[in-house]
Subunit: 307 residues, 2 copies
């Protein structure tokens, strides 16, 4: 009996939000269906953000209506503010994702708020959600590095995490938003948090921009973390395109964790159909490193072992 890990698919949200090519609600619904067919059970499909700020998320309510509803499917909606929270709640989301960046600069650029203002905004959303019986997952964005201010001191990430837990956030996602972290930082952040709170309430959100997502994921896994975000085909992020990848690819994270003996529930062969849909919808060449290995094995007529 293998131990289960949760891979939360954020391709439809984090993966698509900055895509230059408009992706239709139909394509998103097809992508969600293919992901679920491949075994994905946790998805963050939408953000209830103002459509002028993120046009790709303008169909959040419409896409929600197209998602299959089953007891084993777990959806989260990202909400930038109280108005977004209310929309997500009214659409029936049982869990919402909040975003708190680690620096004044990052919060100003994202939300036009100072760090203190953004912290208080999150506290208000958490309080509202608790009153409504909606669970909250707060992203500590830039937990390893800020795109404007450089490396994030561990104490800053720890203090914000503790503040959000004390405010009542059910889960915390420690997010390497720009792929600027390293596995030693992961240990330095997660070890004290796991010791105080246990591993169950923490997610890790990684970008593979500089090639360290696998090492950081393993550093977290080794400390007992069993919940990770990932994006099908590595879709999204790409703050330093071309060549630099964005979110860690779902297939690469699934291969890493399954090779190490965990049950991810994800079928890599079936996931290829989802990657193909994402490629067609975005006009990008996608696919994690394990898919390239599988393709090259097949090109040589060799067996591709189940990972």
């Amino acid at each position: 009996m293998k131990e289960q890990v949760i891979i939360n698919e954020v391709g439809l949200r984090d993966g698509l939000q900055n895509q230059p090519q408009h992706v239709s609600t139909d394509d998103k619904a097809r992508l969600a269906a293919a992901l679920i067919a491949a075994g994905v059970r946790y998805l963050e499909p939408v953000s209830f953000v103002h459509p002028k700020a993120v046009p790709q998320m303008a169909d959040a309510a419409a896409l929600t209506d197209r998602l299959p509803q089953r007891a084993d499917l777990h959806y989260t909606a990202l909400v930038p503010n109280l108005r977004g929270y209310e929309m997500a709640r009214d659409k029936g989301y049982p869990t919402v994702g909040l975003v708190l960046s680690t620096t004044d600069t990052f919060n100003q650029r994202n939300l036009n708020m100072s760090l203190e203002q953004a912290s208080e905004s999150c506290e208000r959303i958490i309080a509202a959600a608790r009153a409504d019986g909606v669970a909250t997952r707060t992203y500590i964005s830039g937990a390893f590095a800020c795109p404007y201010d450089g490396p994030t001191p561990v104490d800053v990430t720890l203090a914000l995490t503790r503040r959000m837990i004390e405010a009542g956030s059910d889960e915390i996602a420690i997010a390497d938003t720009i792929g600027g972290g390293n596995p030693q930082q992961m240990k330095d952040i997660m070890a004290p948090l796991v010791q105080t709170y246990g591993p169950e309430r923490f997610y890790v959100h990684l970008h593979d921009t500089r090639g360290l997502a696998g090492a950081m994921a393993w550093a977290a896994c080794d400390l007992g973390i069993r919940r990770f975000d990932a994006s099908v085909g590595g879709l999204g992020g790409c703050p330093f395109a071309p060549g630099a990848t964005g979110n860690v690819a779902t297939e690469d994270l699934a291969y890493l964790l399954s090779s190490a003996g965990f049950d991810t529930g994800i079928d890599l062969q079936a996931l290829r159909a989802a990657v193909a849909i994402a490629e067609a919808a975005t006009g990008q060449v996608l696919g994690g490193r394990i898919l390239r290995w599988m393709a090259s094995r097949e090109a040589q007529g060799k067996t591709v072992c189940a990972p």
Copy 2:
């Protein structure tokens, strides 16, 4: 004061040995000089193998004469048998690398010997080297997976490692020859070895074929391992080309370890010149993931931070 890690450059040997395009001694000497200029201090430049078996290594003696000799430069020659050992010794190599694969099949294909015969051959070379005052590093090849027989049981790798240590091998390189390992296996292998023998005598040799080299390197580093093989630009290996990479790229490993706070001695900007030489000499597109990130940053006119 940062803790030092050793990155042993095997591009000239493991990286070139299977290249279809002949690489001249001049190009090899230029590549060695560029690597040394970038801060590389440990190199495995040659294999004293029969030229019919590995034509790219036919100039092992001639290349040796072209390598700079300095007190801070540490060279190893790979030797497949006693005859190769004697050639390496006579050329003045202070350390030789031996190869012991973990299965009968792999040893038959590599050396036309059974596992027991190959083990005894290594014991004879180790005994001869000890008598001559030459240090030995024994590669346990296929320590994680055999290309023919699949995953390698941890006990097999541990037993062969112990046997070679008892025979007097000064160092052991735990080698994921085909990139088929995972970080949990790394822990299962290295933890008991480090506990019994300490970390100092162990090297880890990784291929990034399925994208797990970073996670495996971190798993080893986290157990105290401070010695790693790597190949400039990811040169070599490529058992599943195209698309699948071979040896872990020196620049990717150096970035991982330096980001985590270690001193590798390697200057990534200077290493680019070595990658360019390797590309020109082999006709291949090379370069680890961190070089692609650096290039894309530069293309956007952004600063590339020292890692």
